[in-house]
């Protein structure tokens, strides 16, 4: 019934020379010993609390004994946790004892002095500025904080120590030692992981399965937060140095995509670093090696579009994802991106692939609104740039045609989204203007869009689209 065993009392009494201790006496003494231990612990806990600690130390026990007017126990002062050894004597109960290392005196004297422990220092940082916790390395990231907040207020039955322990999730790798001055130390495992992922993604010789597995891991695995800055750095480095290799660029975009997908990352602070690589892949002058692009451009443009257009499309969709996710939290993000794209679109000196990229980029960033406000009014002007190229049958004809199809493609968005808008029903306006013949409508269309694009759009034979374009164009005029 008591934790303290009567037999222990007997053992002790024998060791001090009392041979036949009465059973009842032993039992009573055992209970008393237990009570005294409780008493000492109660006092020791006070010392622990006032020292603002959550673990009881040997020093607390010594202090408690002093307060209780008991001779302190010497020889147990130790900053490190005590190790207990276990020994069994015959069939008796196992005996526990504090393990003491045997120290060779000679060795101890000749050993070099231990290192002086590091001095107590302090660092100051803003924990909160007007109630907002700034995202600086000294503060935990919101995802970490969210996890902390989930674990701390609960644990109705857990005691102080337990709940303190539970504030940190031992399963994740984020419990990496934080050194002063906030130097991140990556664990061996994380370093290895980074190494593996980066080589498997960039190595052209690896199979698709491995690459996919690597990306899937990035997409899903929690606990990689420590690596996020390294990956971001990796992406921008590889993009700037790998402009010639379409493969590398594509892989980098896939990597970016994977990072954006992973829910456990707090990626917001890194968005500004991720944008430049994406923009590079979207509106870069020459993407991929010149030989590959020229070979593909010389081949039939309709059967196979050059691979870099696919990359540009991919980057545009990434951009769209970024805008969708972070456009609300960062007010300057969308305008900045739009301005960049528009600048490239309206600069006739830029190569046509750049135009292509900026057209789809604009559509991706701003959606229908951007098409209506920024692209439609400029289409007619822009035609002057691509018209000669298309007529010319030169090497740049395919590029110009790509731009044309991109334009038509984004203009098509007008209608697609308009259908959801439902102005048709409200106003009761018939799809084609009343009283106007088909030719008149077409003329109007071409008047808005210019000859080339107008023709293309007319060819699509979609009344709603034509209607939408005329509506939008009319608004402008």
């Amino acid at each position: 019934m008591s934790l303290w065993n009567g037999d222990t009392i007997k053992d002790v009494s024998e060791s001090v020379g009392v041979a036949n201790l009465n059973e009842d006496v032993a039992k009573n003494l055992a209970m008393d010993v237990e009570y005294r231990i409780h008493q000492v612990l109660q006092e020791a806990l006070k010392f622990m609390r006032h020292a603002r600690r959550t673990t009881l130390g040997t020093q607390d026990i010594s202090n408690a004994l002093r307060v209780l007017d008991v001779e302190p126990l010497y020889g147990y002062e130790s900053a490190r946790p005590l190790r207990f050894g276990e020994a069994s004597l015959g069939q008796a109960q196992p005996i526990f004892y504090v393990e003491d290392d045997e120290v060779d005196f000679e060795k101890l004297i000749n050993a070099p002095l231990p290192k002086v422990p590091r001095d107590v220092t302090f660092t100051g940082h803003w924990l909160a500025i007007e109630g907002v916790q700034p995202a600086i390395p000294q503060n935990p990231t919101p995802s970490e904080a969210a996890r902390l907040s989930e674990t701390t207020p609960k644990g109705a039955s857990s005691n102080t120590t337990l709940s303190a322990a539970s504030t940190l999730n031992p399963t994740t790798n984020e419990t990496v030692t934080i050194k002063p001055l906030v130097k991140h130390v990556l664990s061996k495992e994380l370093q290895l992981y980074f190494e593996r992922i980066s080589t498997s993604i960039t190595d052209e010789s690896t199979t698709d399965t491995i690459r996919n597995a690597a990306l899937a891991s990035l997409r899903k695995d929690p606990g990689l937060h420590q690596l996020l800055p390294y990956f971001v750095q990796f992406i921008s480095e590889k993009t700037t140095h790998g402009l010639r290799s379409l493969f590398t660029l594509t892989q980098m975009m896939s990597l970016t995509h994977a990072l954006l997908e992973n829910d456990s990352f707090f990626i917001e602070p890194y968005v500004s670093s991720l944008i430049p690589p994406i923009l590079t892949c979207l509106i870069g002058k020459h993407l991929g090696s010149s030989s590959s692009s020229s070979s593909s451009s010389s081949s039939d443009p309709h059967s196979q579009t050059p691979a870099h257009y696919a990359l540009r499309d991919f980057s545009a969709s990434l951009l769209k994802l970024v805008c969708k996710r972070f456009g609300d939290s960062s007010h300057t993000l969308k305008p900045r991106l739009t301005r960049t794209c528009l600048k490239h679109f309206l600069d006739p000196a830029k190569p046509l692939p750049t135009h292509y990229g900026s057209i789809i980029g604009l559509a991706a960033i701003g959606g229908r609104e951007a098409v209506r406000v920024l692209i439609l009014p400029n289409t007619k002007l822009y035609e002057k740039v691509i018209h000669p190229e298309i007529e010319d049958e030169g090497p740049r004809k395919s590029e110009a045609e790509m731009c044309l199809s991109a334009l038509v493609g984004v203009i098509k968005q007008l209608e697609e989204e308009e259908e959801g808008g439902g102005w048709k029903g409200k106003n009761g306006v018939p799809p084609i203007m009343p009283g106007a013949s088909a030719e008149e409508v077409k003329a109007q269309l071409i008047g808005i869009l210019g000859e080339l694009v107008g023709e293309e759009v007319w060819k699509l034979r979609r009344e709603a689209l034509v209607k939408a374009v005329i509506e939008a164009g009319g608004m402008k005029v």
Partner: protein, 672 residues
């Protein structure tokens, strides 16, 4: 009477051969035939208590010493659980003292085994509100422990106070008398001996108290002068500011006028600011200047006053509706402390910090990068350092306090002494010896000169720097005094104790003038709003309670630090925001006015009532779709925000006069 008639029924002995049941049957039949309905009913009731052998089962619990308390307690508990919902909360409060005394009585009578099984069986019911006491009681197993143990003596020598509305107490007494033989007598005896049942006017309420919180007047509180029990006359206290001497005020005004003239294109002149916000004149509620003798003012005091006026003008406004604006927190994280840092204090202007270490020294840190120059030239060789160590104590330092004029620092230690150090020379000046146990806390008064200490010896003491003996000894707490703080007008001292109470002491008379009860664990930190009206307290039970000092009533309870200790509290200058820092590595921000019925509170009383009735107060977990921001906030609406540190328990939070919060924490890289 009637029952006697039954036993005298002729023929009872004649049927001795038959079984007792049969005999009863015959008698009952006889009685019903004769029409003795009452007698019959009585016999039925009484005979139900006999077993089939005819021996009474529970003729008298007093004859069964080993189990009587257990049975009586279970009996009472069953009755309470089956009573009406409106009476339950009140009645339940009786259970704990009855439990404790039943247990102690069992031990006292030497029934070790029953006492332990009794404890094991029923202690769980009280774990929520009395975990601390239960832990201490658990060890008691022998009769001699009862006389030896501090807590057991407390319970046996004092009366445990429980408040009852009159209906409830009538019900209870009636029940106990009715079932006297069934355990009622045992309970009655306990109540008579050890419990003070106070009948209060008013109706019992179902929604009054939350689980795990003591009633406001419940418990053992020692001598109770100044307690907010209903009907008691509270000692008069004056919470107004200490007025400034007229000549001092004139000097300060001169100084401010000069400063104003010197320039600065502020919208508010320093003098205006002074008149509006700082000046302290005698008023109805204020003390007389002579009430508290202070040394004559010097140039340093004027300088400080001018600085306060400037800082007050520059301060960030943290008031406003619906919720007050949130403050900025500057966190100083201490590294390589190896858990040795035990307490921190910041100077009023935030330029230096002092830390007390387990290794018996105090360390001063310059926070603004300026070297700590000593006026002793040799001390600055080769260059004046930016951190200095004050060595002199022979035990861990548990409290440090920097004087408001930044000239002195006090430290208290396990070695039972309090030391005064000079911040000009960085040397020890005085060692104050008076406590005969470790000193847990020390704090300078708001005007310097006086300081107060809290000690393990159950007393708090008031000292002045120029006397080596204490001026007042505040005795009354029943256990360690853990923390001490001055009222802003320096005329009162507040102490928090391990006996779970907070007391307010009059410095002038040394009397306890207020008593605040309700916490379920030792009190670890106190703070008073700058206007001197409200008190916030916290402790091991990780709840923060807000009190109205004037009437001694609890205004509200705030929870959110999980189950970990809270180490420090601080009010913003306007008193609208309360910050708390604790072992859960967070600084949390609380809306003070919310739910207190204060005029600034935006939410009506009803809202807080429903919030409280909402129960648990924890958000649903594992809901991945909730936004992080929402999840970070506890569902309690007065919990405004939580700021997390990276594994650094927060030891101190302290608002400066500019409404910037300074915080200190120690980084624990190796924490589990």
């Amino acid at each position: 009477m009637a029952s006697q008639g039954t036993s005298a029924t002729p023929g009872a002995g004649a049927h001795a051969a038959g079984s007792p049941q049969a005999l009863n049957q015959i008698v009952i039949e006889y009685l019903s035939k004769k029409g003795y309905a009452k007698t019959e009913a009585m016999l039925r009731v009484e005979s139900a208590h006999t077993d089939h052998e005819g021996r009474p089962i529970l003729s008298n619990l007093d004859d069964q010493p080993g189990v009587k308390y257990q049975k009586a307690y279970s009996h009472l508990k069953n009755w309470i659980e089956n009573s009406l919902d409106i009476y339950k909360p009140e009645l339940r409060r009786l259970l704990f003292p009855v439990f404790v005394h039943s247990f102690l009585q069992l031990v006292k009578e030497g029934h070790t085994k029953p006492s332990q099984s009794f404890f094991a069986e029923h202690s769980v019911e009280h774990a929520a509100a009395h975990a601390d006491d239960l832990m201490k009681l658990k060890a008691i197993s022998l009769p001699q422990h009862i006389d030896d143990d501090h807590l057991a003596r407390l319970y046996r020598e004092n009366k445990y106070k429980v408040n009852f509305s009159s209906t409830t107490s009538n019900l209870l007494i009636h029940f106990l008398e009715e079932t006297e033989d069934n355990g009622g007598r045992v309970i009655l005896r306990i109540i008579n001996d050890h419990i003070e049942m106070k009948t209060i006017i008013g109706r019992p309420t179902m929604f009054g108290e939350e689980e795990g919180i003591l009633g406001e007047d419940e418990g053992i509180a020692g001598h109770t002068s100044g307690h907010s029990e209903s009907g008691a006359i509270l000692p008069v206290i004056r919470l107004g500011p200490l007025p400034m001497p007229a000549d001092f005020m004139a000097d300060v005004e001169d100084e401010l006028r000069e400063e104003d003239a010197a320039g600065g294109d502020f919208s508010v002149g320093l003098l205006d600011e002074f008149h509006k916000n700082i000046k302290r004149e005698e008023s109805e509620d204020s003390l007389m200047r002579g009430h508290l003798p202070l040394p004559p003012y010097t140039g340093v005091d004027i300088e400080r006053e001018v600085r306060l006026v400037k800082e007050s003008r520059e301060k960030m406004k943290l008031s406003g509706a619906p919720a007050p604006a949130l403050p900025s927190v500057l966190m100083y994280t201490f590294h390589n402390t190896n858990d040795g840092l035990q307490c921190v204090d910041f100077s009023e202007d935030g330029t230096i910090a002092a830390g007390g270490f387990a290794e018996s020294y105090v360390r001063i840190f310059s926070l603004n990068g300026k070297p700590l120059v000593s006026i002793i030239p040799t001390e600055n060789f080769p260059v004046a350092p930016k951190t200095r160590r004050l060595i002199g104590h022979s035990g861990p330092i548990y409290g440090v306090s920097i004087s408001p004029d930044k000239k002195y620092i006090l430290s208290c230690s396990e070695d039972k002494s309090v030391r005064l150090w000079s911040l000009d020379t960085y040397t020890a000046l005085v060692s104050y010896k008076g406590h005969d146990s470790p000193v847990w806390d020390v704090r300078f008064g708001p005007y310097g000169h006086y300081f107060a200490t809290a000690s393990h010896d159950h007393t708090a003491r008031l000292w002045s720097c120029d006397h080596i003996y204490p001026l007042r000894i505040f005795a009354g707490h029943l256990d360690d005094v853990d923390t001490v703080i001055f009222h802003p007008n320096s005329a009162y001292v507040f102490t928090g104790s391990t006996d779970k109470t907070i007391r307010m002491w009059d410095v002038q008379t040394g009397n306890s003038v207020r008593l605040f009860t309700g916490h379920t664990g030792p009190i670890m930190a106190l703070t008073i709003s700058p206007d001197g009206k409200w008190l916030a307290s916290t402790g091991i039970d990780s709840t923060i309670m807000l009190w109205d000092i004037a009437n001694g009533k609890r205004l509200k309870i705030m929870r959110g630090h999980g189950k970990t200790s809270i180490y420090s509290l601080t009010f913003s200058m306007e008193g609208t925001i309360l910050l708390s820092g604790g072992a859960d590595n967070t600084v949390r921000c609380w809306d003070v006015a919310y739910g207190t019925g204060a005029p600034t509170a935006e939410a009506p009383e009803g809202a807080s009532a429903t919030a409280a009735a909402g129960g648990g107060g924890m958000l649903p977990s594992g809901d991945g779709t909730t936004k992080t921001n929402e999840r970070m906030l506890d569902s309690r609406p007065d919990h405004l925000q939580a700021f997390y540190t990276k594994r650094s328990p927060v030891y101190r939070v302290q608002f400066t006069h500019k409404n910037l919060c300074l915080a200190a924490s120690a980084n624990m890289p190796n924490a589990p």
